[in-house]
Structure formats: structure tokens, C-alpha cells
Subunit: 351 residues, 4 copies
């Protein structure tokens, strides 16, 4: 399938380009950005920040303007737009019949837009049927939400979860590029990330909610979040305490997480990790720099599962914020939608 | 008064040397360490790691063996010994009639040893009367405890505190020297510090406890702690959620902390901060690198006081781990004990 | 004397504000910046990045537009403008009769503008007489130049210097704020700083040049420079190899540097370091984080003086890039000019 | 072939284990270390510091004592011993008929021991014939030498090199584990690495030397080196100035490096990079964090080739210190020796 990337020159857009290089199902058809970049070769328009080099296949491609007309040949688009651009543009693509797999926060909490983690709530894609435009929009959660929710999902299923206290230590790449000034964060911690704590409160309830009569009933639980920026390149580490619905020992909790069966098993999605959640026994782990790349950055790592004197159980969870928490998550969303038959070549769709 | 420093060549011992340079009441009489260092000039025996240079007055002084006989001229000693050495040695000094102001964890929880923060529980020094040796031992809390307890104290007084959830982001200097390998922590977070979480559970209850019939009745509250090591030089930052005894708004909580009256006011102790607790309004603050040196490293900084959906109120607290949380705290303890008339020149004491 | 600060909200401007707080001779009369900031209180207009807090005296002061009319009450101004703004504005102040002590690179190499390090070439202020405007401009060198030249000056005087090879490892604060993205430099080195190597080639020759017939004859020596950005907050460290005019041993070279007599001795300039150049014997020193603050950031540190197999002698040199290499250097320039009688209250000057 | 690893639990030994996992020619037969580790499973005996996890195949293997008897089944051994252990042990393996491919510095400058970079001096393996023990020793150069020499080799061949000035910025992993304390190097540079500068003076001359009458005649050139430790995980970056034997423009120099033909081309050595030296045109490159992993860490990166006012040409060079500069280099040495027929299964050798 032919895909376009909206916001292709930004940090998230670059990650889409990097991860789609060699993808077995999706081929980059168009790199789209704002007027400032349109018309220039991608090599020049993007200040490439990837650890690996820019894929040769895109280096000389001309960036097009992020308008539906310019991407008419794309079967769907990935959106790495920032929230304000997404506000303006994503609906226009949907109206033009081009599905949008978005990483922007703009439509995440819209009642008819799926907020999707394939291993957690694959059935929520049914919300698409409520969208009235020829195309539609599907979103993935915020980078600090996804690790937390993937660790909670097995607990929700096995015991229920009543309350969550989470303190995050978030990586620099979560702020985009140039993002955080080195003068602010070298040898330092910044105990504030604008808007982040609210996302951690609301997104998990939608993600873990149930589909009833075509709408999402949010999962009932209380979340309290505190977010910090730390001098780490990639990987959000979170200290989590959980109050369970029914009693369980830390060993049972660890076992339930470690044995979590992905609903994607057997679907052969290229970006899906073999094991979505891994539980470490070594109490020093997981650590961002050592474990963030596990299974291509798509595995969530859990460690230090132990009793909490205040709630019931506590643990740390690590996930890759720009892969699992952004571009990689969105690509897996597209793979799921393709497997569900919701995403298909437009020629086929039109037939 | 003439003071000795036990463990003078280590990281804490060096901080004692640095902070006592020019102290108006205490003069370094002896630098004591193990057999490996004894007999060598301090300049050579210590691998000086201070940001400022080694005070000239101590550079050429000969290190003596950490035995009571070698420090017979000292009115009292500061102990920067590690826990195992403290286990062996501190009681021998007390038995020899030499008071020990200790930073070691060994005797902190002993029922007849004061665990002391002068602004919090100055009356606990009465426990000294229960010690039966000619000298005695007083301790200061762990570096991650002191900031938390100083922020809680005004809340305990005003509203009562029923439960605390704390997640720490602790500085490298808390691990001593050489301490944490650069390969383990550069661009990384280590979500584990051996033994640290237990100290945060038990020490606050003793510190906030009440003196009844000459013994400490621990304060009744539940504490759950999660401890992390971050790539910061100095300053432990902690994310705290608190369940209060009686209801109070975040504004009332902030006001109570900001207006905390130090019981040391008017005592003219050289190391006491004018304002023990400061509350920031800027939501980006406090930050370790920017605020850790406030009032010579003796002030505790609080910020982001706001409602907690799970407990009642949450905030961040920052304190200097090697000054307020170690050597500086111990020196302030000695100043209080001197002001209380418990610490005096031995000639006077003997008279 | 009453001083204005041009570019007061930027990184260099903030350093001027910080260093002038409590200055015995100079009082901040006006904080000037561009239209974007003018009219707003300094507290809001500047994103204060200092380690210490913003001086209370300036926090509520209104920022004025950087135009001569708005600073008519100032006896002179410090310029922390960037090069393009300095190009437009500095001459207008000089034309309005207001002396400009500038940190901008714009006029450094102008033949009638002194490029000044008070300990190195105090006589170069005579160039002012060649300036035809009622006011005049004096500049300080680039932050990477000043440490090198202060270390070379004793060698030039004692032995002559024919050639210099210098490789710099420069701190992040040299790039201003927000400056270098944390994503570019955490755990990394960037082996390029735009325009920096040229400054290291040309500025030293002017600084070490001689005043002949009212003009500067550049010092004859060859310089080759390579500049790198390293993840250090403050302090440019430079590895230097020198070919001397006449032979000297490393010991002689170290001795000549260590015994360098400041021409400012006895002038009682508040910002002048007692010892402008310090030579370390410990081969691990100097290090940016440990030694950059020596003598208020105005001392230059040298270490590892040893033979060079290729040229004659090599060593490392460290200087504080935003104090000695920027705002502090400019303030010392003003103090020298005041002592020389060239800078005086405008009322006096007019009389 | 069956290989043993001496010093298997140390930092270099672990890198051997990591890089040999899945090697097509060499299989780990024995993990050998000192008495402290012998008898324990590798999982416990080594404090695994690798970014990737310990290969499952070795985790439970018992560590053996580093003595020839215990490794009698090995066809040869890789030595990751430190210098003092290598002094004692490596000859004993050679005497026992077991070839030693060593990373230790101990025998590098011995006249009958090859100091080998396969792309630079593959013919130097002939020195083996001068060794009189049944087995023999081959060494690879110091981690800071290899990048420099690989960049110089094309210049030596094309123009000759008379003199080199090199300033290094070396990664933390070069100091082993635990190596450099985080307190010494976070936000800092240490301008001294014990013994390092001497290696950069002497090793290149042997490596670039010519084999005459069975002995190495060192290459005639002058080297001056200054070595610094910077807060980077992997990758030594070096600023190099070169005086050529015959004149050449920077463009010619860059071209000669970029078109360097590896003498290994066509030999199909598994660890050999397709392109040993890469030349960047982007003046911000190479950077340690972005480019150190090129071609599995075996490619050397060069950038900023430009004229030097003092010598002739200058540039930066980057190489991976623990792969190209240690374990990977030693493995490539073994592959070359195998291809040359010097390294073979002992059964074959005995036949």
C-alpha cells in the first residue's frame, strides 16, 4: 500500500520515514510538510536527527504540500503533525477519503475516533463506523500513556484496577527537535511537562474502556500523575503504584504480566513484538539506555514488581517513546487495520 | 570546640572538612581514618573530590587512626564512617566519653539514639539521657529522608498526615566516591538503590514521632517509596503525594509550608538556613542544578503544590543530599546540641 | 556610574545583570532589548537561565527599547547584542555620545576599535582616540580566544611565539540559550562550531599586537584551530601546542606563566583576578566543572605543561566562557577604561 | 574453530562474548578468568554491562581458570586480560601451543610480535615466524591508535606523512568497567589518560612500518598527542593535523581516504567492513553517538578535511573504541590469520 507522511520533516515524521524503510506492506509514496519545506528535496528540508542515516530512497524525493490534492495517490497517510496543524488538516484528509493514522493529540479523545493500542483494545476500531467522512481518523496514545496502559491491561483483565499513581521520568526525544535546551537539562531534572499529566489521567480510561452500543464506556479508575524530564535520550521510565480490584500478590501480578497473551498472536503483523510485555527479575532493570530497544522498540519492559504499603502493588515500566509511543505504535495501528480489512488500497476500496 | 572527623578521607568526611573550614564554633583537631590512611598527610590520603579546593589548613595534617586514644583531645567527633565501620567504632568513642555526631545509618533506629533534624524534632535530643555510656551518639537521617520530612513537618503540625507516596530521583553524590560508574548512568536512570526505600519508610516515622516518657512514639502514617538514581550531581528530587488527616486545599498546604517557622529562629546557629522550606510558584521549579545550593545547601525547596486525585495533595521537594542530607545536617545537629548545653568542651564537661 | 545593558534579555545580557548586581562602581540604569521585549517587566521579558536567581532589583524594572534616546541617562552601555543587531545599533549609540563596551563580534577586527583584555593589552585603548564619533566602541574577544591569549601572553613576552595549534572543547553556554539541543549533544561531541576557528586565528594576532603610530601591528604568528562542542555547561578547555621564538624548557614555560604579573596589579579593579593565570601541577587538572569558577570565573587555568615532539611545548588551558570570555571580561574592560580616565560620568565628561 | 576467551568476565572479555555470538567461523569453547570467577556460572561471575543482553548460550557456562590446561580444547584464545595478567599468562599459552590473539598492551611493542590492523599491515603477521614458542602471540593496537592509523594509511601510501598532531576526545568505555566515576566526568572533561599519549606516539610507527628481513622498520614520522576523557559512551573522536611528505590539497587528501581500497577485499572476512574508511562532507560529522556503530562498529569515519595553516591538512576521525579498537579488531585479526593459513584447528595443525 502507498502511504503518505504528514509532517514528514519533523521529529515524528522522520521516525515514520526510518521505520517504514523496508516495511513489507507499506511504501512511502509522499513526504508532506508545510509551505516552508514543500518543493525542496527531503534531504534539505529535514534536519535529519536519526541515529541511523536517512534512507537513500527518500533523500532526493521532493517534499509536497500537506494537502489532500498533493497526496491523492496515497492509500492512507500517517500524521506526525503537531496538534495545531492536525486540527486544521486531518479532517480535510478524512473528508477527501484518505484515512489518517495519526500520532497527534488533537482527536484522541473525540468520541468517534479510536484511541488505539493493538494489543489492548483492537475492537475499538469499530468506532470508525461512526465517522461520517469518506476517510477516517485513528489515533495512538501519548508516549507516556502507552507503556503504562500495556502494563495495566493484564491486571485489568485479571484483577481489575481501581487506582493508579504514576511518576514518570521522560526522555528528551519526547519533546521533539530541537526540543529541550541542553542548558536546561544537562545534569538536571525538570519536574514539569506541560499538559502531560492530564493525558495520563484521561487516555488510559478510554484505552481500557469497553465498547458498548458502538461507543466507548471509559474504564472506571482514578489516576494521579507526576511528570518529569530527565537527561535520557529515548525511553520513558515510570514508577507505578496500583490498587487492584481483587487481591493479588506481587508474584501473581508479575506472573499475569509476564504471561500476557497478545491478541495479535498469529496475525503476523510485521511491527508487533513477539512478547508485548516483558517482566525483569533483576531489580536493577529495566533501564532506559539498556532495554529501550527491545524487540525493535515495541516491547514494554516491567521490573521491580513488589508490594505497595499504600495501594497494593508497585513496579517500574519502560517504553520507547518515539517508537512504541509514537511512530511505531501508529504503524502497528495501520497493520492491525489492514488485517481487519479496514485499510486497503483505495482502488480496492473503491471497487 | 575541638572536633575530630571519623572517616575523614571518604566522600562524607571530605564534605565535613569542606563545611567546617572557617566554622565559627568548631575547629578541626583530628582527621581520622583506617589503617590504610593513618600516618599519611591528608592531601595524599584523600582523593579530594570537592568542587572547591582542599582547605590549606588540613592539606598537610597527618591522618590518625580512628581510635579513641588518637582523638583524646577532641571535644566530640563527627562520624562519616560507613555503616560497617560505624558498627565497630562509634560505641567505642561513646564509651571513651567522646560524643559522636554521626551520619552513619547504623544507630539511627536505636531506641535511645536521637535521629535528629533540628528544625523538626529538637526535643528528641532528650534521648541522650537514656544512653549509659560516658559519651553518646546522635544521628542525622538518610539523605533521601530529610527533604521529605522537612516538607511534611508543617503538614503534620497543621493537618496531620496519614499516608505518603514518594518517588525519588537521587543524585550521584549520594552513592559516595567512586560510587556509580559513568557507564551505568550516563544518559540513563537506574530504578533501584539498595536499602533506600526501607529508610524512607521507617526514618520519617521516628523523626515525626513524639517524645513520651523519655521514648519516641513513632508517628502513625503509611509510607510507600520508590527510589531511582539519575544523572544529576547533587540534589535529591522527590515526587510526593500526601493523604492529610484533615482536609486542606493545595493553597492552604503551600501556605503552611511557606510560612513554616523554624524552631531554631533566634538561636543564631551558624549553619541554620534563615528559611528552612521555600515554596516555588513557577511550575518548572525546583530543579536540582538550579536550586540545590540555596542557603548554602541547607534550604529545602518545594514546588508544584497541587491536588492529587488519589490522595489529597502532591508536590515535588528538593534537598541537597551531601549538605542538608549528610555533613551539613550533622553540623547543624552539633550546633543545636551545643546551644542546648549538651555539647561542651570536655574540660568544661569534666568540671 | 549609570550603565545600560543592550540585549538585556539574552544569555549574555542576563550574565551582565548577574555580574553587575552589587558592583561597587556601576549601577544598572536601563535594561534594553528589542521591540518584542520593550515595555514588559524584565521578569517576564527574560527567560532567566542563571544558576542564581534574578536580582530582585531588576525583576520589576521595565525593559526599554534599545535606542539611544531611551538610554540617554546612561553614562555608557554594555552590549550583549548579537552580531546582526550590533551591526545596526552600536554605532548609533557611539554617535549619540554613549560609549559602548561590547561583547559582540561585529567590530572586533575594526582597525580603530580596541579588542581588549586588560591584563594583555591595556594600552590598546588608545585606539579610541581614532574613533570620530562622540562616543566610542570597545570590544572583548571571543570566548574561545581569551583563555588562549592570556596563557600565551607570558610566553610572547618571555620567548616569543611563532606558531600555535589549538583544539578546543567548548561548553554549551557558549552557544547561548536555547542554543544547542540536548538531542544533539547528550553523550556526544559535535566537531564543528560555525565561524569559531577563524576567530581563533585572527583575534589573538590583534590582541598580542603592538601599538605603533596609533595603529595595531598584528603579532606575527601562525594559528591553526579546531573547535568542538562538548556536553559541559561552562568552561572552554583547550589543548594547545606552541612553537616558541627562543628555546625554553617546559619547566621554564610553566614558571613564566605561573609568575605572570598582571599589569592591573595595584589598580584595585573590582573584577580583576588576583592571579590572572594559574598553573596546576596535578596532571588531571584543570577540569571545566572543578576549576571554571576560580576567582569568580576570571582566572585562567593552565595544566599539563610538557614538551611537544612537534612544536616546542604543549599544555591545556581553561577559561570561563560566559564570565572571563564574555560579560565578566567586558565589565573588566569598563573598569580599566574608568581607571584610565576614559570612562566617566557624562556630566563630568561634558564639563 | 573452538576459541577460548581469557579475561572473559571483564569489559573487553564481555565484548568478545557479544561479538562472537553467532560468528560463522569461531565458537566459544571456554570462558576463562581468575580464581575469583572460576567455577561460577558466567551469568553470575560477570557483571554484564552490554547494551544487548548476554547471549543465552554462555549464561550458564562455568567459568574456568585462565590456565593452558583448562583450555586445552581451544584452537586458540582471545585475550582480554589486563596488562599485568597478560604479562604472566599470555606466554604460558604460547608455550603450551595455543595461539593468543591479544588485546592487551603487554606485547604490542615486542619486536617479534605483530601489532596488527588487517587493512593496514596484513604482511606483518610474518613476524610470527620469529616466535620460538609452539603457539604465538598477535596483538591489536590501543583503542585510540586504530582510528588514527587507518585514516593515515591512505596518506602514507599516496603522499607520505612526516608529522602528526593529534588531540583525542575519548569515550568512557575505553576505561573499562567500572572505570571512570560518574562524579568525575558528568558535565566535565578530564584532560589526562595515563599512558595513552605514549601509545599514540609509538604504536603508529610500528603499524605503518615496513617488514624488512623479517623485522619491522618503524615508519619515520613525528607524533605529538594530547588525550582527553569526555562524557561519551562509545567512540573516540580525534582532531588530527598532518604534515605530508609531498604536497596535496585537502580535496586530494579526502579523495585518497574515501577511495582507500581495503587489502581484505575479496577475502570474505565476516568482521571486515565493506568500506574501512568513510569520509563525510557534512561539516558537523562524524559524531560519536551518531556514527560510531557504522558497519557494526568496524568502519572508521573521517570528516572536516581541510587545510591546516601550520602543517598541511587537518581532519577529525572517529572509531569505535571497544569494537574496532578492541574486541572487534582482535576478531578481525583472527579472521585474517585464518585466511592466511596461520590459524587452524589444532588437530589439523598437528597433522
Amino acid at each position: 500500500m502507498k502511504v503518505g507522511i504528514l509532517g514528514a520533516t519533523g521529529a515524528v515524521g522522520q521516525k515514520f520515514v526510518e521505520l517504514l524503510d523496508g516495511h513489507p506492506h507499506f511504501e512511502i509514496e509522499a513526504l508532506a510538510a508545510s509551505e516552508r519545506s514543500a518543493g525542496r528535496p527531503y534531504r534539505e528540508a529535514s534536519n535529519w536527527i536519526g541515529a541511523r542515516e536517512m534512507p537513500a530512497a527518500v533523500a532526493d524525493r521532493e517534499v509536497v504540500l500537506a494537502e489532500p490534492d498533493a497526496l491523492a495517490d496515497c492509500d492512507f497517510v500517517f500524521s506526525g503533525l503537531d496538534a495545531s496543524a492536525a486540527e486544521v488538516l486531518e479532517h480535510r484528509f478524512a473528508e477527501a477519503g484518505i484515512p489518517v493514522i495519526s500520532n497527534a493529540r488533537t482527536h484522541r479523545m473525540d468520541p468517534d475516533v479510536p484511541l488505539l493500542i493493538p494489543e489492548v483494545n483492537p475492537d475499538h476500531t469499530a468506532l470508525i463506523d461512526r465517522q461520517t467522512t469518506p476517510g477516517w481518523i485513528v489515533t495512538n496514545p501519548n508516549c507516556s500513556t502507552v507503556g503504562l496502559v500495556m502494563a495495566l491491561k493484564p491486571l485489568v483483565d485479571a484483577f481489575g484496577v481501581e487506582a493508579v499513581s504514576v511518576v514518570t521520568m521522560q526522555a528528551l526525544s519526547g519533546a521533539g527537535y530541537p526540543g529541550v535546551s541542553s542548558l536546561d537539562v544537562l545534569g538536571n531534572v525538570v519536574p514539569f511537562i506541560g499538559g502531560e499529566e492530564d493525558k495520563l489521567v484521561h487516555e488510559p480510561r478510554k484505552l481500557l474502556g469497553s465498547l458498548e452500543d458502538g461507543a466507548i464506556r471509559p474504564y472506571e479508575m482514578t489516576v494521579s500523575a507526576q511528570c518529569n524530564r530527565v537527561p535520557v535520550l529515548d525511553g520513558h521510565l515510570e514508577c507505578v503504584s496500583v490498587k487492584l480490584g481483587t487481591a493479588a500478590s506481587p508474584e501473581e501480578v508479575a506472573e499475569v504480566m509476564a504471561s500476557f497473551e497478545s491478541p495479535l498472536a498469529g496475525m503476523d503483523l510485521p511491527t508487533a513484538p513477539a512478547r508485548p510485555v516483558r517482566v525483569f527479575e533483576d531489580e536493577r532493570f529495566p533501564q532506559p539506555r539498556r532495554h529501550v530497544e527491545a524487540e525493535g522498540g515495541m516491547q514494554v519492559s516491567v521490573g521491580r514488581v513488589r508490594a505497595c504499603a499504600l495501594l497494593d502493588v508497585k513496579f517500574v515500566v519502560l517504553s520507547h517513546n518515539t517508537i512504541r509511543g509514537a511512530a511505531g505504535g501508529a504503524i502497528l495501528n495501520a497493520e492491525l487495520l489492514q488485517a481487519q480489512g479496514r485499510l486497503m488500497p483505495r482502488a480496492v476500496a473503491a471497487a
